[in-house]
Amino acid sequence: MTAPTNAGDKAIVVEGLRKSFGKVEALRGIDFAVQRGTVLGVLGPNGAGKTTAVRILTTLLQPDAGRAFVEDHDVVREAAAVRNVIGLAGQSTAIVDELTGHENLEMVGRLHHLTRTQARARAGDLLAQFDLEDAADRAAKTYSGGMLRRLDLAASLVAHPAVLFLDEPTTGLDPRSRLAMWDVIRTLVAGGTTLLLTTQYLDEADELADDIIVIDHGQVIAEGTAEELKGRIGGDVVEFTVPDRSRIDDAIAAIDTLGEGDPVLDRHRGQVAIRVGSRGSEALVETVRRLDAAGVESAGLSLRRPSLDDVFLALTGHAAAAVADEVTA
């Protein structure tokens, strides 16, 4: 089986991939490609099919239909060749709690057929690179969540993979560890590694990815750069918070006809967002006037460019984070 003729500079090519688990269609025919040396952000809520796609690309699952190539190797027919060029990291599952950081990395090196000396040297390098030198000889079970993720990422890099898959690398991390993880990932990408990153966090895709595909219910529903995706919902967003949550419906009623489409409401935070197209400043003034007339107090009134959150909502009709686990595949 030869790679598609247009593969050339593509590190990953996916064509018509389908996968069902019983009656649940996890992937309903997805296509995408990743240029060498770039970062693709695969964005979608829990159960959208992101993990299933990663599992197929990393040879852990066989697709029901469609084809996928990593560095021109077919993930089904040439699984062994694929395993030689990929790394997979995510939720620190490769780490053995009872082994030290150094032992964990050395073990992975030995499994990649480095000699003992090579494996030790590589482990030392990676521990330094990921700021884990001080904890190198401590059992991994004493590590913080952020340290574990970094160690896990280091483990996936032992054999210098050409293509790296990061499956929700910051899910469950506190904000500070998340930012640290982003820094680590940026450094990595600067070194030329092709990266496929799945995330449910829109800001993460925005920060790290060159290109983004949005997956929902097993289908790619949008693709492009973060800027292109933001451009697709057309124009700016007026946003404000109603400190008195009981007045939130009054606020909605007041600004109801102002925007394009229905206002978006986060009741918990008392936050209201309205898409206002290109009438930015005019709409801002009008919002102030109407809220004032209705006697609703507001805070943090602002005009901003749309975020990926807005995009996701516009594309799917539901917020990215609010979706419950529909499919756990």
């Binding site: 599992r55 990393t58 040879t59 852990l60 699952l61 062994a80 395993r83 030689n84 990929i86 790394g87 997979l88 939720q91 599952t93 490769a94 053995v96 009872e98 082994l99 032992e103 073990m107 992975v108 030995r110 499994l111 990649h112 057929h113 059992a139 054999a159």
Partner: protein, 262 residues
């Protein structure tokens, strides 16, 4: 298989064996499970039940008991095998190993080798405890070593069953519950602790013909000598047939379950 890939397969299995043994060494609970539990079992049967179970064997019940405890312990030790694999499958550890270019056999062989070593330690502890409470080998050094080897071989065969169960169920609780269901009847409804002649007829039919009884009878004949009260009879070759059959059925099943973990 080329020489190179064979060397790597051995390397991969060895690295994972080292990993499993290191974990075992560093978790006190595992050591307790390996050493303290069989010690307690030996002492319990020797002193609590021993007086109530009459056997016509030179040296008394402790000589009857010890090969039984050894057989039973070899079987029960495989619970840990099933549980570790289930946890690794559940946590995604096995997935991460499968994404690396390691030999397909490495995870199972590494598990077998590590658990086989663990089992050997347990067997030696039981023999030491046995010696302290009156047990004596009386069939010679060769037969004693043969007994340890047979117990180990039987334990490894049951490890294959446990690997299959662990990888097929992939849930610690389920594996634990299921382990009790098959291991308790198999080991207790046997000649491990009491002569099968003391059981009701319908139970005897099972007890006499099941592998644990053959193995334990053979262990006894090796430990105490092939005598009128502990005859070897057909037990040794039946044990070997059973061990071969169990491996032949469950090793492929375990390999298949391993490939399906995802």
């Amino acid at each position: 298989m080329t020489e190179q890939s064979l060397r790597w397969a051995v390397n991969d299995a060895w690295v994972l064996t080292w990993r499993n043994l290191t974990v075992w060494r560093r978790v006190p609970a595992y050591l307790v499970f390996t050493i303290v539990q069989p010690t307690i079992f030996t002492l319990l049967f020797r002193f609590v039940f021993g007086g109530a179970i009459p056997v016509a064997i030179p040296g008394g019940y402790v000589n009857y008991l010890l090969p039984g405890v050894i057989g039973q312990t070899a079987a029960f030790a495989t619970m840990a095998t099933a549980i570790s694999l289930a946890i690794e499958a559940q946590k995604g550890v096995i997935d991460r190993l499968r994404v690396m270019p390691i030999a397909r056999s490495a995870v199972l062989l590494g598990r077998l080798a590590a658990d086989g070593f663990r089992m050997l330690v347990t067997l030696l502890v039981i023999i030491a405890v046995g010696y302290a409470v009156g047990f004596r080998f009386s069939g010679g050094v060769g037969a004693a070593l043969g007994m340890i080897a047979l117990a180990e071989a039987f334990g490894l065969a049951l490890c294959c069953v446990s690997m299959f169960i662990g990888l097929a169920l992939r849930q610690e609780e389920a594996v634990q519950a299921f382990g009790l269901i098959w291991l308790f009847p198999l080991t207790f409804v046997s000649s491990a602790f009491v002569p099968v002649q003391s059981m009701p007829g319908w139970l005897q039919a099972f007890a006499v013909n099941q592998p644990v009884t053959h193995v334990i009878n053979a262990l006894r004949a090796l430990a105490l000598g092939d005598t009128r009260v502990t005859p070897m009879g057909d037990n040794l070759w039946l044990s070997i047939v059973w061990i071969a059959a169990i491996v032949a059925v469950f090793m492929p099943l375990a390999v298949r379950a391993y490939k399906r973990v995802s």
